[in-house]
């Protein structure tokens, strides 16, 4: 029986745990084992590393000691420090154990071939959208605490498509500017171009050179954007398609660095995939044009406009909100059973095809736009659109002012639901809320419904958003 004695425990943690004898994962920094009750993972650092980590871990514990339950679901903060293992002095920390059915994110989104294995098992693209959101949320939490991760990529997140959630790893390696130095520079393909461009050859260095620029929150923002788009489009949108030097290493450093070009750059097509925009299930490559205008704007800001203007890169919180809002626009394709963002922003309905199988929806769903009251009682668009299908719900956060979608909605949040009315031939929204709605001058009480036809305006009461059916 292996017993571990702890100290500096957070509230509710025991002062000792017993380890399972069967599983040990050995990495470069230390070993990870799990408690017998399966609740916790225990990381014990190798001897040479322990002293370096000791002060850092104490600070990291303090930084992440006040997370809300919504924030905590995305991270694995240290819950206690390890003092002894079977009465032998060691150093390490305890964290929540990731559920066994989670897998490395790379095993889910590396490329379409990998993703299709999960699609065939019942997952769909909507799950990936939620995973992308949880990745953005985790980085936003980190940045909110003044930390940077410095190693954001698809091997440092564990994910469950069933839960549609990702959990960030390696939080014990976070950096704080001028205080906690980063230990790594990142994974090529995800590293910001300015880091790659800071490479200085040095024959005395073990790797033949050094990066002189340290990663921070700004480079994190770049890595995050790469990862988000990789999750959504199943490819690295900055992959060079040509060689920039005769040596692979130098060529990749230039291709992702000095010569970094967005694969869908409006003017420069050097890195543009051949089958871009062609249906994925017909050998095509997903295009960022399948994303909402807001998500595309964030991508363009990161990879085109501000590629080398680091300070203007979109923040993690901006990505998290845009992804949260986008999820309300999902539509399931009846042909291939994939979910995609219904492209209500495209003027012609014939353009709104499924990016996976290329078919046109047999039924174009009503799309509701939400507006908020501004100055002098005028309502302005807040770029929130909801696509309704039979069996959809209207949620409280969609009609309440100044609210973004929570990560998980519950039944308690439902204020309406849709039903198909064969008499009118339209989708109807049923009022499940306590208060009466006013729709195009007509009162709609609890239990009554309103047809979602173009031009319908729904007023939910003072202080609430206004909803307009756009089509």
């Amino acid at each position: 029986m292996t017993e571990v004695r702890l100290y500096k425990m957070v509230a509710g943690m025991p002062d000792r745990v017993t380890l399972d004898e069967t599983t040990t994962i050995t990495g470069g920094e230390g070993t990870i084992r799990f408690t017998q009750d399966n609740k916790y993972a225990v990381k014990i650092f190798h001897d040479g590393i322990a002293e370096v980590k000791r002060d850092k871990l104490s600070l990291v514990m303090r930084l992440f000691s006040q997370l809300s339950s919504e924030q905590e679901q995305f991270l694995l903060p240290p819950l206690a420090l390890v003092d002894e293992l079977n009465r032998k002095k060691v150093f390490g920390f305890v964290m929540r154990r990731v559920p066994c059915d989670y897998t490395e994110l790379i095993n889910t989104v590396l490329n379409p071939v990998v993703a299709v294995r999960h699609f065939k098992a019942g997952a769909h693209w909507g799950h990936l959208l939620y995973v992308a959101r949880s990745v953005a949320e985790s980085v936003a939490v980190l940045h909110g605490k003044g930390c940077s991760h410095t190693d954001i990529h698809y091997k440092n997140f564990m994910v469950s498509l069933k839960d549609a959630q990702a959990i960030m790893l390696e939080i014990d390696g976070v950096a704080v500017k001028d205080f906690l130095k980063p230990g790594v520079f990142g994974l090529q393909g995800f590293m910001a171009p300015e880091i790659l461009m800071s490479w200085q050859p040095d024959e005395s260095a073990s790797e033949g050179g050094n990066y002189t620029l340290l990663p921070d929150k700004v480079t994190d923002s770049y890595s995050l954007a790469i990862l988000i788009l990789h999750i959504l489009l199943l490819r690295n949108v900055m992959t060079p398609l040509t060689e920039y030097a005769d040596e692979v290493e130098e060529s990749d450093r230039l291709g992702f660095g000095n010569h970094a070009i967005f694969s869908e750059h409006p003017q420069d097509r050097r890195h543009r995939p051949v089958k871009l925009g062609h249906p994925l299930f017909d050998g095509g490559t997903l295009s960022y044009m399948m994303l909402t205008p807001k998500l595309r704007a964030l991508a363009e800001s990161t990879f085109v406009t501000n590629l080398f203007v680091q300070q203007r890169r979109p923040l993690a919180r901006e990505w998290a909100i845009a992804l949260a809002v986008a999820a309300d626009g999902l539509l399931m394709c009846v042909t291939c059973k994939q979910c995609f963002l219904y492209q209500h922003w495209l003027p012609g309905k014939t353009q709104r095809t499924c990016p996976f199988c290329g078919t046109l929806p047999a039924y174009h769903p009503p799309v509701v736009e939400f507006l908020e009251e501004g100055v002098k009682g005028r309502f302005r668009s807040i770029d929130r659109y909801v696509t309704f299908s039979p069996g959809s719900f209207l949620f409280a956060d969609q009609i309440q002012a100044n609210r973004t979608p929570p990560f998980r909605r519950t039944k308690a949040d439902i204020v309406g639901h849709t039903v198909w009315n064969s008499a009118t031939g339209h989708l109807h929204l049923v009022n499940d809320a306590g208060q009466c709605w006013l729709c195009n001058g007509q009162s709609v009480r609890n239990g009554q419904s309103v047809p979602l036809v173009a031009g319908m305006v729904m007023y939910f009461g003072s202080g609430y958003r206004l909803a307009m059916v756009r089509q």
């Binding site: 490395e104 790379i106 095993n107 590396l110 490329n111 379409p112 071939v113 990998v114 993703a115 299709v116 699609f119 065939k120 091997k155 990142g186 994974l187 090529q188 393909g189 073990s206 790797e207 033949g208 199943l234 490819r235 690295n236 992959t239 060079p240 398609l241 040509t242 060689e243 920039y244 030097a245 005769d246 040596e247 692979v248 290493e249 060529s251 990749d252 450093r253 890195h271 995939p273 051949v274 089958k275 994925l280 299930f281 017909d282 050998g283 490559t285 042909t335 291939c336 059973k337 199988c357």
Partner: protein, 226 residues
């Protein structure tokens, strides 16, 4: 009826060519060749289980006995490898295997050329042998060492069996050399370790450490010769 999903890996991915040069001479008959067979199947399975390695690693299998044969049509995606039944007979034509390796390096490995299509990572080569080479292997080895193009900088040689000539093994090898016994389990460990090395290499290249010696921790019963 489920929808057919015909997808492609995507453009711009570099390949890591992995060569397996396997001794199938007469002295490998019996348990040894069976263990090599099982080990090869394990190698392919391990590669397929790693998402990144599955995409990146492309394999060529060369067996050598009285002559040398390429069992795969060049360097092929790991997902398409079909392993035939291996037989052990004849002498040990390691030189022929080296020459076949040379030919494949020239024709199957894509060279990085500025302005051209994406080239391959530098190949990883494993050599597994249990005895003395019986052909002119020295000149073939020198030719490989002298390559300027598509260099072989990561070759791992493993000698198996108690009768292995350690001095000759060191002369054969280009790079790290190990000795192992000829128990079936050791052959399985060899292939499992080879898959781990290949997987580690794919990640190392991603962090821009292509030119660094691969950090390898061989199985406990492998003895490092050099």
């Amino acid at each position: 009826m489920s929808f057919e999903m015909k997808v492609a890996v995507g453009e711009g991915t570099r390949r890591l060519p992995v060569y397996l040069l396997l001794d199938c001479s007469g002295s490998m008959a019996g348990n040894s060749i069976q263990a090599v067979q099982h080990g090869l199947e394990l190698f392919v399975r391990e590669m397929m289980n790693d998402a990144f390695a599955c995409q990146t690693v492309h394999v060529a299998i060369i067996t050598f006995d009285s002559s040398a044969q390429m069992l795969t049509p060049g360097v092929v995606p790991i997902a398409t490898v079909q392993i035939p039944t291996l037989n052990a007979s004849g002498t040990t034509s390691l030189g022929a295997a080296f020459r076949l390796l040379q030919q494949s390096l020239d024709t199957d490995v894509v060279k990085s050329v500025k302005g051209g299509v994406k080239g391959d990572y530098k190949p990883l080569v494993f050599v597994l042998t249990d005895g003395q080479p019986t052909d002119d292997w020295r000149s073939a080895k020198q030719d490989i060492e002298a390559r300027q193009d598509r260099k072989v900088i990561n070759m791992i040689t493993v000698g198996c069996g108690d009768g292995i000539d350690e001095q000759r093994l060191k002369e054969i090898a280009i790079g790290p050399t190990f000795k192992m016994d000829d128990r079936g389990a050791s052959f399985i460990e060899f292939f499992k370790w080879a898959s781990q090395v290949a997987t580690t290499m794919t990640v190392s290249y991603q962090t821009g450490q292509e030119n660094q010696p691969v950090a390898m921790t061989p199985p406990p019963n492998f003895i490092l010769m050099s």
